[in-house]
Symmetry: D2
Subunit: 336 residues, 4 copies
């Protein structure tokens, strides 16, 4: 950590600041420049509160040099983490496609979609039971009943299920869910993250709409700090000025996350673009950039979908996308 002092800093104030830093177990090197003085902090700075340092009257700025995350950091865990659920592996060369409708609408619907996507090669079934909707007047999901329907579909097909949690109060209802998804809007719902950290169950953590890669990894760190290290990171597009697509898929996030962290990375091309015609090219691009999996929306009757129909594929379209996906996964030397 580098602390840049203001030009007007008095000698006595600088000495006081250095003492205060040293009391936190760090060593300090002073560099006096032509116009400014900087302090180099030496030691484990991951627990130093940048803001507390910055609050000092004589401090102009603080620059962190090491990453503030530890458990999620590849430097300390060079090998890829492989998340395994019901025999399906994600990460370390293992690739999975998670598919299903935005919302679970009925027992028949979810079973039918499950059979369809399984036939095309999807390894896990997704479906929303609790739905985060911008409008209080929009369909909010079947909630507990939706999870029951997902479990029915699992019983029939054997596919492990992935579904989104919106509150720590619902954790008990998710005890049979295979992978719990944290949506983009809850990426910094820290109370929820802490609660999930106490579970022994994989978490699919989606990147927030306007969160940096560092914040994303810090949210994974929240869960891992609680003891749950089974995290799958999910890039799903960020919010920018561009309106031609619903969000802007940050394709660079994939190789960057893989460099910075050992956790597997999956991509959601459906929400990233909000356009069915982009699901195939974005899926291929994600695999080429190093993704460990995809999560794709499929609906057996998109035109009557109760949410997000615009970006859902029909089972037939999904089959065509999967043909491409399989070829690209093989080309990249990964395996299902």
């Amino acid at each position: 950590m580098v602390v840049i002092l203001k030009q007007k800093a008095k000698k006595e104030e600088v000495v006081n600041l250095i003492d205060w830093i040293k009391k936190q177990g760090l060593d300090v090197h002073v560099v006096e420049g032509a116009s400014k003085t900087i302090l180099g902090l030496i030691g484990d700075t991951s627990k130093v509160d940048e803001d507390a340092v910055r609050a000092n009257d004589i401090v102009e700025n603080v620059r962190r040099i090491s990453e503030p995350f530890k458990a999620a950091n590849r430097k300390f865990h060079p090998d890829d983490t492989v998340v395994e659920v019901c025999g399906r592996k994600i990460g370390g060369g293992n690739f999975q496609v998670i598919a299903g409708p935005c919302s679970v609408e009925s027992k028949e619907q979810i079973k039918e979609v499950a059979r369809d996507v399984q036939a095309s090669g999807a390894g896990l079934l997704r479906g929303g039971a609790y739905k985060p909707r911008t409008s209080p007047y929009a369909f909010q999901g079947l909630r507990a009943e939706g999870i029951e329907f997902l479990l029915d579909a699992k019983k029939e097909t054997g596919m492990p299920i992935v579904t989104e949690i919106m509150s720590a109060a619902h954790i008990e209802l998710f005890r049979d869910v295979d992978i719990i998804q944290v949506g983009a809007r809850n990426m910094q719902n820290f109370e929820l993250l802490k609660a999930l950290g106490t579970l022994n169950k994989p978490i699919l953590l989606k990147r927030g709409l306007a969160n940096t890669i560092e914040e994303f990894l810090m949210s994974a760190e929240y869960i891992m700090a609680g003891g749950n290290e089974n995290i799958i990171l999910c890039e799903r597009g960020i919010r920018t000025f561009e309106t031609a697509t619903r969000n802007t898929l940050d394709i660079s996030a994939i190789p960057l996350l893989k460099q910075l962290s050992h956790l597997p990375v999956v991509v959601d091309p459906s929400h990233a673009a909000g356009l069915t015609s982009l699901v195939e090219p974005l899926s291929k691009a994600a695999i080429a950039a190093g993704a460990d999996g995809l999560i794709i929306e499929v609906h057996n009757d998109p035109k009557h979908a109760l949410s997000d129909g615009a970006q859902s594929l029909t089972p037939q379209q999904f089959g065509e996308v999967m043909d491409s996906v399989k070829r690209m996964v093989e080309f990249e030397g990964k395996h299902f």
Copy 2:
């Protein structure tokens, strides 16, 4: 609502779509253009699911013409809402300053700050008991004990208190809190919003980092749909490419929110800029743009603050800012 059809739409498909829309209780006018056909939907479209319409194969795009919020909409409630708490009014010409530290750190600290900010003219006391922090290793707040300390400070000074909630599970602990704050990261924590909708207590709702004005009002609508209409909207800066300030204060949001909604609007200049030197000019600008109040961070010892010290004012600096604020409020014809 206007539905734009694809060029390739077949007559039969168009007829089916029109039938389906009519079944939802709406009337449809067809406009056949040179290259495209558009449908004009007539009736109460606030509950029509845009995505369900867009999911139809022959639909190219859907444009909403009326705002999707009702309870928060000034069109249906032309008069300003005035939120009142312990005799302090916000809105409708009434102005309030809410001040206090980012985090409650001790009983003495919060009492001292309370006395200081009250002496300078603040009407309400703020202080974080539950703290949303990016890092799991940063100070997380005194939590329940922090609320106790705030209540002690209230007992001594008579100032109503404002503090942030991070989970619906904590609501019981907030029963004596005067105004419950929802932070930017929880603006779309819909389960929390629903729970707050059942209370009979004012809610200070902060705009999310990357949320549009419409989404902001839809989150207010979530709370109001549950029956709680005591909402104070808070603009606190949005995330943009500019890094010279922590966030970009969206000053235009103030007059726009006042035009679109009857709810009072307060501004947080401390978080918006993240720089103490900008608190005064941004406070003045906010009042000039029509704000009904301010929420300002004040710490009695910013250099040892446990969070967000960089943007906190000392009590003396706050006193100077308040001199400016009072003159500007008076100039604008509002009253404390």
Copy 3:
């Protein structure tokens, strides 16, 4: 084009507006809704000035339904445009890699890089003679002499050259340049675009830092409206809140541009990320998403580069990237 009227619009005013629109050669259909009236404009609306319509007192909003670009529009030119220069083709299944240093620094340097990148499979040579630099104190390029050195390198290797123009006043100096590049900062330098429209020479048009896909295509339209239809579009990253990469590569822009337009699309992974370690994964992703070419920075001595060294590959690194690129191009069924 759909015109949404304000609720308070008087009948007489509406009639006047309709008359004014009809005078511009369009037909108007009126849809009277529950709370609002909308007008559907029928005919060739590409030349109607949205702002002029919006300026009318009774108009609340205007929505364009058809794209405002014609010459660049795939609807009117379904076949891919293939740009050809010195026997190298770009577009329509033909793929090219353009490589070279950010800045031309000396005759020897550019010749050496040219030989190196040609040996690895690059088809065209790039190099900056005129350099847009944020600081007036930074190296501004060798200018006219830089073009001479590029032409020397072309003479020796036979590689066509691509270099950036910064002012219409320099056009005469670019008469022997094979492809003229317009940089991101000049994407809306309309006087320059108009001047380039009168040439009979391919233009590589880079997307601006904060320009939408529609604005990008409108800038291509500027050049095409002047008669020069040899345009290559270049996605090079947009500016967002994320700071881990220099820019955010908008990977979705590739398939979208290919859908909307018949022009070839190349990608600049070097500027998009600003990190050498991302050049390979982003190059592969771009090809997988449908790109027709790449433009990559290569420097024979990056640590002494006079500009943008951080993102330049060494010739050896470039060779390794090219191995990946060639395999991916072949996998996608395209050819050099």
Copy 4:
């Protein structure tokens, strides 16, 4: 400047780097941390090329500590610059309103608007002769004839004129223009900036759509480096994800620019919001935040304006805004 080295850096490489830096006339202090080594560069680093340093294999990152601008920097010129033209002063407590139509459309139009805005208190007349339009099919301005009409209006009213230049090739036509405006899209048209640096005439420099405050000041530095120090900075809104307003007025830029630089700052509330109803509140907010002037669009017949009618005020609306503006300017202790 602080240079952070990679963990793997070898001693010999570090010595070589230090030698190379010292050859550029700087001194280097080495700080060896627990996991990383940093170098503190001492001396005048404003001309050190960050990218050249970053290009070194062993460099992980470079952080600049001093601002890279000199001529525009308040540290070296503590007193406010006052730009004066035909007796009108801007800056240092002097406030001016520049008003007029987006486009000059006819001699009568511009004269009429000039008389109207002068009667309401505007000190300078603006009007676009050369118009940067997104579409090549939109009205491009009257060009040279437009400047003639502006000069006619000046002759009649005595108001100095402000108009936008789009190419250095047109400079001769601007010889009688009082203040030359550089539009947002040309803020980094460096060839144009250099050409304007050789003139002895005030330049109104608008901030680019997606340019940081530092880049904005570096563009001012370009003009100043050429010898022309008469620069007026203009904040006109930046591009963000919010679509309710055309751009997002960055109100914090006003006090920040005033802190960092001695140059006067004016605000364009018309383009910032794109909505006439926001011109008054944003004008007041800008003055409260410390602006030295405003530039406002006024049209005598907005509904038939040839460009940007949606945001133009009628002369009567402008008169009402000016009443507010005058009171606020007086309240702030500034004078016309």
